[in-house]
C-alpha cells in the first residue's frame, strides 16, 4: 500500500506548544513517526550560567509553566548538594506542600486536555474548573497562580501563615467530592474505555528499555518514583501510596494520574496539619567549588539538575534533564500500528512538555542542519586542539 506522510504542526490545535510530528501512514495505520523539536529552545542553561545562584532558581522556573515548582525544586537541591546542607524542617514541609499542589493542578490540566483531545469537552471543562480551586490555594500560599517563586537555596522564601491553613484545608477538602465524581465519570465511562483501553500500549520491557519515567513508566508496571526511591523533603515522613498499574495503555496512564491526584491531596493535607515550627530558611554564606545534583519527581517524571560551582556566586555549568526527554522516544513503541484517529491521544498520553525538553539545538543559519552527538564530540575535540595550539601546549 502506498505510504502517505501526515504532517502535524508545528502550529496545530492539538497541543499548546509548537512541535512537529511527521506521521507516515499506510491507509489508516501509522507505520513510522518522526518528531522534530526545537521550537521552544531559549538557551536557559546558558542564561542560568549568567545569573547568580539565587537568580538561577527563578530562571529555571520559567523553563515550563506547568512544572514551575519541579525545576526550582531540583535546582535548589543541587545547590544544597554542593554545600552538603540540610534545610530546616518547616521549609521541607512547605516545599512538599507546594510541589504536591502543583502535581494536582498539572494532572487535572492533563486530564482536561485528554478529554478535549478525545472530543469529550465536558471532562475538559470540569477538570479545568476544578483546577481553578487549586490555583486559588496556590495563590493564597505563594501569592501567584503560577510561577510561585517560593524556592530559594537554603529553604523557602515565604512562610505559610497560621491563619491561612484552615482556609486552605477547607478549599482542598471542597475539591474532593468533585474530584471523586470526576474519577467515577472518567473510570466508568464506556466511551472513554472504548477510546483508551488497549490503545497505545507500552509494555513493561519497552518502558524499561526506553527508560521511561513518571506516570508513563508506572502505567507499564515499573514502580519508579523518586519520592519513594530516594526520599527528599518531607516525603519520607508522610504515608502515601505509589500508584502502579500493569497494562501500559492510555487508559492506565489516565487512571494513574487521576488516582495520584488523591494521593497528592493526602500528602498536602498531612503536611498542612503537621507543619513543624522553626525557621523557613537557612542563610548560605558562600558556595564552595564543587558539583551537586538534585532530583525531583515532577508530575511527568524525574527532573534532574546538575550544578557545578567554582567558588564564585554563579554556576559555571547548569545541566537540566526533563522527564519528557526520556518519555518522548516511547512514541516509537506506542504509536506504530495504531490508527491515525488514535494518534492524538497517544501523542498526548505521556503528557509531553516540550518547553522542558528543548535544551540543545544546533543548526546552520538556514535552520536546516542539526548536528548529532558525534558531530558535537568532534567539534569539541577540534576546539580543544585549537585552544591547545593557541596556548602553546
Amino acid at each position: 500500500m502506498a505510504k502517505t506522510i501526515v504532517p502535524i504542526g508545528p502550529y496545530h490545535p492539538l497541543q499548546e506548544e509548537p512541535e512537529f510530528f511527521k506521521l507516515t501512514v499506510e491507509g489508516e495505520r501509522v507505520v513510522a513517526i518522526d518528531v522534530h523539536v526545537g521550537y521552544n529552545h531559549r538557551g536557559i542553561e546558558k542564561i542560568s550560567e549568567m545569573k547568580t545562584f539565587d537568580q538561577s532558581v527563578y530562571t529555571v522556573e520559567r523553563i515550563c509553566g506547568i512544572c514551575s515548582t519541579s525545576h526550582p525544586f531540583a535546582c535548589v537541591q543541587a545547590v544544597e548538594d554542593i554545600i552538603l546542607m540540610e534545610v530546616p524542617d518547616r521549609a521541607k514541609y512547605i516545599r512538599t506542600i507546594i510541589a504536591e499542589g502543583e502535581r494536582i493542578h498539572s494532572h487535572l490540566l492533563w486530564l482536561g486536555l485528554a478529554g478535549h483531545f478525545l472530543g469529550y469537552n465536558t471532562v475538559f471543562m470540569w477538570a479545568w474548573k476544578l483546577r481553578e480551586e487549586i490555583l486559588d490555594v496556590m495563590e493564597i500560599l505563594s501569592g501567584n497562580r503560577n510561577n510561585y517563586a517560593m524556592f530559594t537555596p537554603g529553604g523557602v522564601r515565604r512562610d505559610i501563615k497560621a491563619e491561612d491553613i484552615p482556609v486552605v484545608l477547607k478549599k482542598v477538602d471542597s475539591i474532593l467530592p468533585t474530584l471523586d465524581m470526576l474519577k467515577k465519570a472518567v473510570m466508568d465511562d464506556p466511551v472513554l474505555h472504548a477510546r483508551t483501553k488497549g490503545v497505545g500500549i507500552l509494555t513493561r520491557d519497552e518502558a524499561i528499555s526506553f527508560s521511561a519515567l513518571g506516570p508513563t513508566a508506572r502505567a507499564s508496571g515499573v514502580a519508579k518514583d523518586v519520592r519513594k526511591d530516594a526520599p527528599y523533603a518531607a516525603y519520607d515522613q508522610v504515608d502515601w501510596k505509589m500508584i502502579v498499574t500493569q497494562n501500559g495503555d492510555v487508559f492506565d496512564k489516565l487512571a494513574i494520574r487521576v488516582l495520584e491526584t488523591f494521593e497528592s491531596v493526602k500528602i498536602m493535607k498531612y503536611c498542612l496539619t503537621h507543619l513543624p515550627g522553626g525557621e523557613i530558611k537557612e542563610r548560605i554564606k558562600n558556595i564552595p567549588p564543587g558539583e551537586g545534583i538534585g532530583t525531583h519527581e515532577a508530575p511527568r517524571g524525574e527532573v534532574f539538575h546538575y550544578v557545578r560551582s567554582d567558588g564564585t556566586n554563579r554556576p559555571v555549568r547548569h545541566k537540566i534533564r526533563a522527564p519528557t526527554y526520556m518519555n518522548l522516544p516511547t512514541y516509537k513503541a506506542t504509536i506504530i500500528g495504531e490508527t491515525i484517529s488514535d494518534a492524538t491521544i497517544i501523542l498526548a498520553a505521556i503528557d509531553p512538555c516540550y518547553c522542558c525538553t528543548e535544551r540543545l539545538a544546533v543548526r546552520d543559519m538556514k535552520g536546516k542542519k542539526l548536528f548529532n552527538g558525534e558531530d558535537l564530540v568532534r567539534l569539541s575535540q577540534e576546539k580543544t586542539m585549537q585552544l591547545k595550539k593557541k596556548m602553546g601546549f
Binding site: 502550529y11 499548546e16 506548544e17 509548537p18 521550537y39 529552545h41 515550563c64 509553566g65 514551575s68 474548573k129
Partner: protein, 149 residues
C-alpha cells in the same frame, strides 16, 4: 467602520501562537475559555486553524526557529486582523533578553495592536486587554492609541 470590521468585532475568533514560551501564558489563555472566566461571553472562540481566526494571540520570546514560521502564519491570516502580544516574553523577551536564541521581540516581527504584560498575565488581565482592544477598534482609535499614550 467597514462591514468586515463590524462582523469581526461581533465575535472575534482567536488563534493562539506559542513562539517558545514557557507554557504558562498559553495555559492562562486556555483558562480564559473555561467556566470560571468564560471569554465566550464576548463572542470569543478559540479557532483550530489560523485561516478561521481574526485575532492572533502571540506568546513567548520568538526563537530563531520560530520566526520564519510566525511570519508565514501571519501571512495566512485573513485580513483585517489584530495581533495581541501576551506576556513579558512576547513584549520584551523578559528574562530571555540575553538569550542567544531570541534575537528580537515580537513587535519587530509582527504589527502588534495590543500588549498584555505579566508573567503570566492573569486571565482577568487577558480578558481586560481583549475588551479594551475591541472598544478601541469600535471608537476608531486603535491606530492613534500609540501616539496618545
Amino acid at each position: 467602520m467597514s462591514l468586515k470590521l463590524t462582523a469581526l468585532l461581533k465575535s472575534p475568533w482567536v488563534f493562539h501562537l506559542s513562539t517558545g514560551s514557557c507554557n504558562n501564558c498559553d495555559i492562562e489563555i486556555i483558562d480564559c475559555l473555561t467556566p470560571r472566566f468564560d471569554i465566550e461571553r464576548f463572542g470569543m472562540l478559540l479557532a483550530g486553524s489560523i485561516k478561521h481566526a481574526d485575532v492572533l494571540l502571540v506568546t513567548g520570546s520568538a526563537n530563531r526557529k520560530c520566526i520564519p514560521r510566525i511570519k508565514r502564519v501571519y501571512e495566512q491570516m485573513p485580513k483585517p486582523c489584530f495581533v495581541v502580544a501576551i506576556g513579558e516574553c512576547a513584549l520584551s523577551r523578559g528574562m530571555f533578553i540575553h538569550s542567544y536564541n531570541c534575537p528580537v521581540p515580537i513587535d519587530h516581527i509582527l504589527p502588534v495592536d495590543a500588549y498584555i504584560p505579566g508573567c503570566p498575565p492573569k486571565p482577568e488581565a487577558i480578558i481586560a486587554g481583549a475588551v479594551k482592544l475591541i472598544e478601541k477598534v469600535k471608537n476608531g482609535t486603535a491606530k492613534k492609541a500609540k501616539n496618545e499614550k
